[in-house]
Structure formats: C-alpha cells, structure tokens
Amino acid sequence: MHDDDLMDRLLRDAMASEPPQLSPGFDARVLRRVRARRLTQSGRWLIAAYAVVACVVTAWLMRDLPVTAIVAALVMSVPIAAGTRAYARRIALAD
C-alpha cells in the first residue's frame, strides 16, 4: 500500500473520536450578549438630544471668539473625538 494511503488510514483511525457539538442554548447566549450591547430606544434618543444641545451651547458660547480660536478648537477636538470613536469600536469588536 502507498505511504499516502497508509497515512490516510492511520489518520482516520487516530481521529475517529466523536466530533464535538455546540452546547444547547448557543443561539440564546449569543442573542443575549448582542442585546446587552445594544442601546435602547430611549438611550439613543438621550444621546441624540445631548449631541444637539451640546452643539447649540458650544456655538452660542463661541459666538464672540475670533475665527482662529474656533479653528484651533476644532483642530484639537475633532481628531480626539474621531480617535475616541475608533477606539470604542475596537473595544466593542474585541470583547
């Protein structure tokens, strides 16, 4: 018998144990974890309302500042916000 056929037979014999199965309730556990990560409807509304109020208040507070100061504030805050968002997404994907 050819070596490859012998190895084929040997592997079938060595790996003949019962293949494992997923435990019952796997789907339910996944859905529970996914639901826990999702914001509720009221949570989403709260965050959207906060964002709108924060934008309005910031614009009102900065109304008398020179343009250079506004640009400097945006240059500092936008990358920080984008970085924080990217980091939060990475954490969400890693857990």
């Binding site: 018998m1 070596d3 490859d4 012998l6 190895m7 084929d8 037979r9 040997l10 592997l11 079938r12 014999d13 060595a14 790996m15 003949a16 144990s17 019962e18 293949p19 494992p20 997923l22 435990s23 796997f26 789907d27 556990r29 996944v30 859905l31 974890r33 996914v34 639901r35 990560r37 999702r38 997404r89 969400a92 994907l93 857990d95």
Partner: protein
C-alpha cells in the same frame, strides 16, 4: 419553524445583513447565527484542537457577537461566508496563542474512546501511543495544515467546505492534505512509528 423564520431561511446572506443594518432585525441576525454557527465552531475547533473544545465554543460565540458589531463594515466585496470565516480564523489563532500553555481539558479520555475489544492490552497500548504521537505531530504542523487535517479527518468536513472556510481553492486544500500527510509520515518515522 415559524413563518417568518422559514421566509428568512430562504434569503441570501446579503439580504439578511441589510435587514440587520437597516431595520435592526433580530430575526435576520438569528438566521445568520443559525446558518454559520456550526461551521464557525468547526473551524475554531480545527484550529484549537481536540483538547480545547470549550474554548472553541467561546470563540464561536465571540465571532457571532463580533459579526453583529462589524456588520456595517461588511462591504459585500467577498462572500459573507469568507468574511466571517476570516474573523473566526484570526480570532481562533489569537485564542490558541493564549491557551497553548494551559492544561488541556481531555487527553487520555480522548484516547480511551478508541479502546477496542479486538485488541489485546499490549496492542491497545501500542495503538494509544501511536495515536498520541499522531496528535502531537499534527500540533507541530503549520496552522493551515492542522486545520485542514482536523476538518477533514475528525470533523468529516468536505473538501469544498474546507476550501470555503480556509478561503482557498479546492485543489489547494487537497494539496494541503497531501503535504500534511507527507510531513506527518516523516515526523512519525523520526519518532520511531510506522504508518503500517
């Protein structure tokens, strides 16, 4: 199976992804989980090995949760299956690097399941030693060979399914299996075992 579930079962993966994203449709996500859970679990267990089945289940669960979080980044350039298998493969490799030095859950029990009444004690001992040597040698092969071998010989996965899971053409998978058998033959001979 409910009417809604039955209608989802007939839909393409891409349609289900769109439903998940546009309508936050839990039934569509549940259908994706139902469709891929076993294959993702098989892929994970083929990478982690027979001693780490509970870890493989954790990997499958993590992959499903990650899939949910990353659906928006699925652009449809590759097949949905290839995308999720890639996530599973990478995550299983990371977990393997962490659990490698932990004591396995099963070792002798695994061998004991193969005990045969037809063999005498001496022959059984020889058989168990050779089986253990085979498993040890498999663990020393490149990851992709290990995975292909376990999927094919242990989990009974077809070559076409292995090709989809490893994102490789079927002929490449066949050559993985052939090359893995050659390497194993040489490794076993080095350890003083004959394939006969």
């Amino acid at each position: 199976m409910g009417a809604e579930q039955a209608s989802y079962a007939a839909q393409a993966d891409e349609w289900l992804v769109e439903r998940c994203l546009a309508a936050v449709d839990e039934a569509a996500f549940a259908e994706l989980v139902r469709r891929y859970r076993s294959l993702v679990f098989r892929l994970a267990v083929s990478i982690l090995g027979q001693e780490f089945v509970p870890e493989a289940e954790d990997v499958a669960q993590d992959v499903m949760v990650r899939m949910h979080g990353a659906l928006a980044s699925f652009r449809g350039e590759a097949k949905f299956g290839s995308w999720i298998y890639r996530i599973a493969f990478n995550h299983a490799l990371n977990v393997k690097a962490r659990v490698r030095y932990r004591a396995p859950h099963v070792s002798d029990d695994l061998l004991a399941t193969r005990a045969s009444a037809d063999r005498g004690p001496e022959e059984q001992l020889q058989h168990d030693r050779r089986t253990r040597a085979v498993h040890d040698c498999i663990a020393e092969l490149p990851e992709v060979y290990q995975s292909a071998l376990r999927l094919h010989y242990w989990l009974g996965t077809s070559v076409s399914d292995i090709a989809a899971m490893l994102d490789a053409p079927e002929n490449t998978v066949k050559s993985y299996l052939h090359r893995a058998r050659q390497l194993l033959h040489a490794m076993l001979a080095q350890r003083g075992f004959d394939a006969r």
